[in-house]
Structure formats: structure tokens, C-alpha cells
Point group: C2
Chain length 338, copies 2
């Protein structure tokens, strides 16, 4: 089979690609070819795999060529992140809406030319939920909570969910949208996402670097580890249409934790000295965005697919440490532990 | 003030324009200029009004010029209808999505150039609701019912609702989306809407013409008269932001009636001979579309704005007859009554 992963050079995309290549199969089919598109090239280990072809550049400019290229499956992860979309409205429209539409229309062109219907997993986001005066906003958002997004990013994700549902209804693809929780701990540098600090307050102190938590300790948020997030995307791909149940998006599982819980877990795993590297300093811009996010999420439909979050945030931190130890940069990323 | 009505040549748009011109004011401001855009020119009485300027052609091709033209208020009614959008996927995307986006971006360009923020009313539709296996589908859909559209038309309306909410949040317009119920009785010829027969089974027998009801007598549906629909659009425009409550769409009031109720009302108003001109003959295509529509709607937020439906369907028929009598074509449209 031939797979396309958009955003395949990003953290979740590369991890998904690596996991799939290691498995070798998806939904019972052998993975023969995997195209990774992204604005930057994927990591070297992926480039070294003979099944992988990397295409670098904006998805929007690549979509035209995809109109005559058949794929068995697509994971559409490419996206501008929340902070970027708030700062640059046009960027969000172009990267998240127009690019998705161009990709969907490319797949539709394939089907209209007699090609096969691709299975398609879209990474939507918990950011589709937010408080609107016209609707109650539960503390824990579920599959049945009305999405009333309060960011452009969340709006664009929600719109893509509905586009994908309609292209699926029309038979142009076999689409499934899964709402990712905030993926923590992300390695590397902070990105433009307003949620970036949720990783930063764990990653930086482990690397021996001071970190700032821009929201108060009691701010709670639904998190997922990178591995459980990737497991979720694969399970949603492999689910039968009936098991996925309908064409609307589902929540992926979340561990609902407060910033203070995260730091308690950090202390449990890495000690008080590491935890002490985090200080609280309110950032109004970030805090105002996060204040419009849910404090937790449930995932009844994903649970029925056998998907569950890590049991404790300490487990998530331990996974991050194990991931770092497997890399040549472990000395840097875990300097704070030494 | 200067107003724009897209779809201003259509039935609801022309009625709205006529009502506004007769009032002379909107939200306390004098209406000095009214631009009507549509693919066909508006009726002669509107063209004769010195305040009216008609612009004929697709909205998409007109939007570019609107980027430097300030408006105080916009009623965005232009739309391809449900049947057309099911038959021609590209037409729906272009007419309903791309045109709305171009209009919104034109208004945004005005604001970015230092212009005023236009008040903006969008005619969404009860077609945003539909049964999806992932969600319960109530018989009566309310403001809080999860929209899971089962047509491209409904999907596109819902997407526009969310775009407008986000452009509003960003301060590019003061947008309000109102979900129109099926407007009945429409005059003239059947249009491409799957709901067209709801008007046809009243309009044709009154004109002395046989009509077919393509669904079973017990099919129930939320209806609104043209006048109450126009009243609703105006009230939504004039509502304060606080009274409108949030940025999500609201339902306009509906009278929930079965096809058989409509025919009983027709007999009450026009006699058994007129009713006998309607026969039931199932049309699978229409019936399958209508089967995915709600059988009724509630409108709690609109009710709080003082909006209510006609009390009986007979009242709606009487209004249609009165409207016809005011026109020179009354002899034709009411031939069945003679």
C-alpha cells in the first residue's frame, strides 16, 4: 500500500511514520511506499528508509500534483498551530483551510477519474471546544459536547471536520476525524502553539534549563503522550466504518491534569531540584487563550475502540525520558537529571 | 446607511429589500442606499426605487470590488439550494463556501484599511441538522442540538456559520447567523431545493394545477412564512450583541407541521376541490433527502428576541393568498380559487 502523511516532518507525523514503518503493515496491508510532505524535511532515520519519499514545501503547492496520484491511505496532520493562527489570520486560513480543501479535492479528482477511495485520518483538535455565551461549556468536553471554538485554529479544525464528513458522505474518501489532545511532552524547541508551555515546563527542567509556566497552577488541561496519540491515529485508521460510528469527529483519550499535578509528577520522577527550575509568571496572552480551553476531556467513542490514556502523568514523563535516552542527544535533553 | 443584500433578487431577498425600503430605517439608521447582488436582476418595483442599485452576476466575481467599498450592514442570503448542491458538488462549494469566504474577506479588507465593522446577518438553514450514527437526533432540533449535516448544502451553511463566528471574534465584522426554516409558501416556479414541494403542494392547487407530494402524509417539517422569515432576519440584525447571545447561530421560529396538516389547512382555507388537486407519489430521491431532515424545530433564543411563528398553517396560506391578491398576476396564481 501507498501512504501519504502530511506534516510528516513534524513531531507527531515523524513518530507516526516511524511507528508505521516499524510495524510494516496497516489495516492488514503491507506498507510499500510512504510519502511524507512537510515544509521541512523529515528526520534522517526516516529519509534513510527506502520506502520513504520526502516532499518538502507547503501542502497547498503540492496538492495539484496529487490529483493524479493514487494513495491507499492518508494521515493529514499538516497544520499551522494555534498561536500562529491567532497572530496571522491569513496564514491559518491558507495552511489549515485552503490546504485541506486542496488535498480533499485532489483525492476527489482521483476518485472521479476512477481511482480508489483513500482511507483518510484527519488530526483535529480539542481546540474545537470553547466557551460561547449561547451554550453551556462543560468542564469535561465529550464526543457529544457542542464545538464552539474560540480560536481561529479551532474554527479551522472544526470546519475541516465537516468538510471531511461531507466528502466521505459523497464517497470521495473514507474519512475519520480524531481530535488530538495536547501532546505532551514534545521534544525540541517551543513552537508557536499557545499550549507549547505544557511541554516546556517538563522538558526544560529535565534539560537543566529554567522554565516559566504562564498560567496558574490550578489550570487543568487534557493531555496525551506522543505514543498514545500515535496509537490513537492508527486505531482510528484501522477501525471499521461501523466501529468508528458515524462521520463526526471523536475525541482521542486524554489524561486530565493540572499544571501543579504535572510538576508533582516531575518531582516524583526527577526530584525536587528539577521541579524547582519551573516558576510561575503569568503571560496574559497565553493565559487568555488557555482560559477558553476545556479543563478536561472524555473520549467514550475512542474508549470503545480500545484506546485509553496513560494512567498517570509520571508515566508520560517516564516515556519522554526513555525516548530521550534512545537518542544521541540524550546528554543534552536530560542534562538536568545528571 | 448603506446596505448590501446578497441574493437580493431572490424571493426572500427581494421581500427583505421591499420590507426594509418601506420601513426606511434599520437599527435606527436611515437607509440611504441598498445594493442588491444576485445572478438575476431584482423585481421591477425594487429597481424603480432610487435607493436601490442592482448588480447582476455571481457573488464570487463581485467580491473583489467589495474590498474597497464600505457597508454599514450586510444580509448575506445568496446561496445555491440543497438539491443543486447534491447534484453538483463543485457548484455548492463555489456558490456557498467560496463566495461567502470572498465576501467575508472583502469586509475584512475594509476593516484592515481602517473602515467600519459591518453588521452582518447570514441566512443559515435548518439543513445543518441531520441524523448521524455518532449522535442522538431529536425529533425537534433546538439551538443546542449538535449540527451533523447530511447534505452538502447543510455542511456548507454550517461551515459558513463558523467562519462568520470567527471573523466576528476577530473584529472583522459583527456577524449573526440565523437558521431559516423552510420558507413556505414560495411563489413562482419550483426551484432546485429538495424542499420545493412543500410550497408546491399549496401553490399549485391554488393556481388550479395538479401537484405531487413526494413524501408520505405524516412527514413533519419546520416551516416559516416569508413574512415571519423576513421579520426574523431584521430582528437578528437589530438585536444587540448581548441579546443575540454569543456567536453561534440561532434557529428562527418554526411552525412544525405534517404534510397532511398542510393539506387540511389548504382545505380549510380553499375547499376540498383545491385539496383534491394534490396526490401522493413517492419520489425516492426527494424522500431520502427529506428523511434526513428534522421533523420540527424549536427556537428558544429567537423567542427571547420576541420572534414567533404563525400560529396555524392556515394563517400562512391566507398570507400567501393576500400576497398574491396584491400582485397583477393574481388571476393566474389564484386561478384554482375561482
Amino acid at each position: 500500500m501507498k501512504l501519504l502523511i502530511t506534516g510528516g516532518g513534524g513531531f507527531v507525523g515523524a513518530r507516526l511514520a516511524r511507528t508505521l514503518l516499524a510495524r510494516g503493515t496497516l489495516a492488514g496491508q503491507r506498507i510499500e511506499r510512504m510519502v511524507l510532505t512537510d515544509i521541512a524535511p523529515p528526520p534522517a532515520d526516516l529519509l534513510a528508509d527506502p520506502r520513504v519519499e520526502a516532499r518538502t514545501g507547503p501542502l497547498l503547492t503540492q496538492a495539484e500534483a496529487l490529483r493524479t496520484e493514487p494513495f491507499d491511505g492518508v494521515f493529514h496532520l499538516a497544520s499551522a498551530v494555534s498561536g500562529e493562527c491567532e497572530a496571522d489570520f491569513d496564514l491559518g486560513l491558507r495552511s489549515n483551510l485552503d490546504s485541506t480543501r486542496a488535498l480533499l479535492d485532489a483525492l476527489r479528482a482521483n476518485v472521479n477519474a476512477g481511482g480508489k477511495v483513500a482511507r483518510f485520518v484527519f488530526s483535529s483538535s480539542v481546540a474545537v471546544f470553547g466557551p460561547d455565551p449561547g451554550h453551556p461549556f462543560p468542564k469535561i468536553v465529550g464526543d457529544d459536547t457542542m464545538p464552539t471554538p474560540q480560536t481561529s485554529y479551532g474554527t479551522q479544525k472544526l470546519i475541516c471536520e465537516h468538510l471531511i464528513a461531507d466528502y466521505t458522505r459523497k464517497g470521495y474518501l473514507d474519512g475519520r476525524a480524531a481530535r488530538l489532545m495536547t501532546v505532551t511532552v514534545r521534544p525540541g524547541r517551543p513552537n508557536g502553539a499557545a499550549s507549547s508551555f505544557f511541554s516546556g515546563i517538563i522538558r526544560e527542567p529535565l534539560a537543566g534549563v529554567e522554565a516559566i509556566c504562564p498560567v496558574s497552577p490550578d489550570v487543568s488541561h487534557p493531555m496525551s503522550s506522543p505514543s498514545r496519540t500515535v496509537d490513537g491515529l492508527i486505531a482510528v485508521y484501522e477501525a471499521t466504518r461501523e466501529a468508528f460510528c458515524g462521520r463526526t469527529a471523536l475525541n482521542l483519550p486524554a489524561l486530565n491534569v493540572r499544571a501543579s499535578d504535572m510538576l508533582d509528577a516531575l518531582e516524583e520522577v526527577a526530584g525536587a531540584k528539577v521541579r524547582a527550575r519551573v516558576r510561575f509568571e503569568r503571560d496574559e496572552r497565553i493565559a487568555n487563550i488557555v482560559a477558553n480551553w476545556p479543563s478536561g476531556a472524555s473520549a467514550a467513542r475512542a474508549n470503545r475502540l480500545g484506546l485509553h490514556p496513560h494512567e498517570t502523568f509520571a508515566d508520560i514523563i517516564r516515556q519522554y525520558i526513555d525516548d530521550c535516552r534512545a537518542l544521541p542527544t540524550a546528554g543534552e535533553t536530560l542534562k538536568g537529571l545528571q
